[in-house]
Point group: C2
Chain length 347, copies 2
């Protein structure tokens, strides 16, 4: 059967049959690519994101190189809070850093709404530039889920333990939900702008949700994710929800309104399928570290992922987390070829 | 019923009825205690471990302060490889760092056997000093599981992605298992020395096993853990196996020969019980970050852990990971009181 325009990726998101299993990689546009390093140099990622010529070019680089089935907008989960002047920088090798972290209700006033025209014109122009070159390949829009964005605002930077964010959510649940409401508004406006400009799917990054127990996730994180998905549901584009170490949360994530749930390498896809049921597609789940093993092992593990995904519709091949900066691009090219050759042909 | 000497902790390890649920905390001897900071200052932890007077005093501090049901030897998982001169240091705020990481079969020769008398006399003296003061409270011996120790030797320091260790295990499985055999020998000798000196239980720290998929764990990590437990089984002391983010591995960990399996806060204990079956006890699983929440929340969450553990024998209360350095000791004292008051009285 002939692929629809933009075909297999969007079909898989909707659990429809595909010609071949679609594949893309989180952080496919990034430091693993020599052409990215040549273009970006050592400047701030937020400056690069703010320059549509650079951001569009960087978004296109992995599509040209690998022939992946989707592009993802070159962006960062802190772009909206940066745009409204919360005082965020992204430090190379470290991650987002906040000069004055969120500590009390007074800080809510620092989280005004986004004005798409004033605050996001560069994002919209980037999307337009990407679409002009992309052809039928779909573009995935990008936003951070409120819990994960809040973790940076409250901790002041990357964290392993999340003590401050957990302390705040437990000490003042009312304030926590007010903060979540502000971040729901920001991510919703950010995603809507990308969809209006032409993105044909979205991914919400709740990268650190796996630090929460299932009970905490249900009470403190999931409601905000649901609110965003509900707010953008009318656009009719597939919605992907991603996290790491979320094995215990998969069944709850499947109730979020997401069409696709991301799975890291810790949970085999057949087991993930049992946890999420038949209502959502799955995205994943090759261990990014496997790309540092010999090609024969990469092949074995890639085929094992396809095997665990099975032949039922609804699998988008990806890594379980983002491409690591020292990854050899040839190994990613190998994975794309394997998935396109062996992934569910002719179903 | 009257508690046996050393009573409730050892009974719970053996899934026997207890008077009250026993409780201790991983890293209870550490920077969270002002008396620890006063004694230790800023010197290397390896120097402190090598000094029986300091190591014994530090081991005793939390027992005196909290009345916990077990002491754990003040040690580190790199003590054996440090003792044989592999070239390891522990950098404050960072962790173990290896000057010349393990990269090839030539490095196997750097991993000679431990000679208990020559290499571990300070450890044995520390155990003797602790026992002289400890009374009936049991002392838990301490060792690193081979996978986690290997991760430091190969990565050269703490890691988030474990790319080098995973690359080595996949590129040269024969070498990997030779390395595991060396580390099995080291941890076995280290534990046997502690048990011979008087430790009445042991805990094997496989802190980073949760970075592995179930298939990888089965093939690359579990066999070495089994070998250690088998080697020390004849001593008849309870054996605890600990890891973080191991929700997907719990059923395999229960086959290791461990009497007790540690569980972090991501998996409720009733669900953990379903995964491990009735053959082992469970240890855990309060989120260390909860100790930064208000006392009312700490109480709620402590009671929730006890509730999920249920009334069947075989629960040792602990945190899901080590005490964080900035934890208020009064909050840990609160938890001990709650567990001793509410934990399974009179069963």
């Amino acid at each position: 059967m002939a692929a629809a325009p933009g075909g297999d990726f969007l079909a898989a998101c909707r659990r429809q049959p595909v010609e071949r299993t679609p594949v893309w990689f989180m952080r496919q546009a990034g430091r693993s690519l020599p052409e990215y390093r040549a273009l970006r140099g050592s400047g701030s990622i937020l400056d690069a994101i703010a320059d549509p010529a650079i951001a569009a070019e960087v978004t296109m680089q992995p599509v040209r190189r690998y022939g992946v089935d989707a592009a993802i907008l070159f962006s960062d989960i802190v772009v909206p809070v940066h745009a409204i002047g919360f005082g965020v920088d992204v430090v190379p090798g470290r991650g987002p850093v906040v000069a004055e972290p969120f500590t009390s209700s007074a800080d809510l006033a620092r989280l005004r709404d986004l004005d798409p025209e004033a605050d996001l014109s560069h994002v919209i122009e980037t999307v337009h530039r990407v679409l002009a070159e992309l052809g039928p390949t779909p573009l995935i829009g990008f936003a951070g889920a409120p819990f994960t964005v809040a973790s940076y605002l409250i901790e002041g930077g990357p964290s392993r333990e999340f003590t401050k964010v957990k302390a705040l959510m437990r000490a003042d649940e009312g304030l926590w939900h007010q903060l979540m409401d502000r971040l729901v508004a920001l991510s919703t406006t950010f995603l809507a702008a990308q969809i209006n400009a032409g993105a044909s799917a979205i991914q919400l990054f709740d990268s650190w949700a796996g630090s929460l127990s299932p009970k905490e996730y249900e009470r403190f994180a999931l409601p905000a994710t649901k609110a965003i998905f509900e707010a953008v549901d009318g656009f009719g584009v597939p919605k992907i929800l991603f996290g790491v170490g979320t094995g215990e949360l998969l069944s709850q994530m499947a109730t979020s309104g997401a069409d696709v749930v991301g799975v890291d390498w810790r949970v085999p896809l057949d087991e993930a399928r049992r946890r999420v049921g038949e209502g959502v597609a799955l995205q994943g789940n090759l261990d990014p570290a496997v790309l540092f093993a010999p090609p024969s092992v990469i092949e074995e593990e890639t085929l094992a992922v396809l095997d665990a995904a099975g032949i039922a519709p609804g699998h988008i091949f990806n890594l379980g987390h983002g491409v690591l900066p020292t990854t050899d691009p040839d190994r990613l090219a190998q994975v794309v070829d394997l998935v396109h050759t062996h992934g569910r042909a002719g179903v």
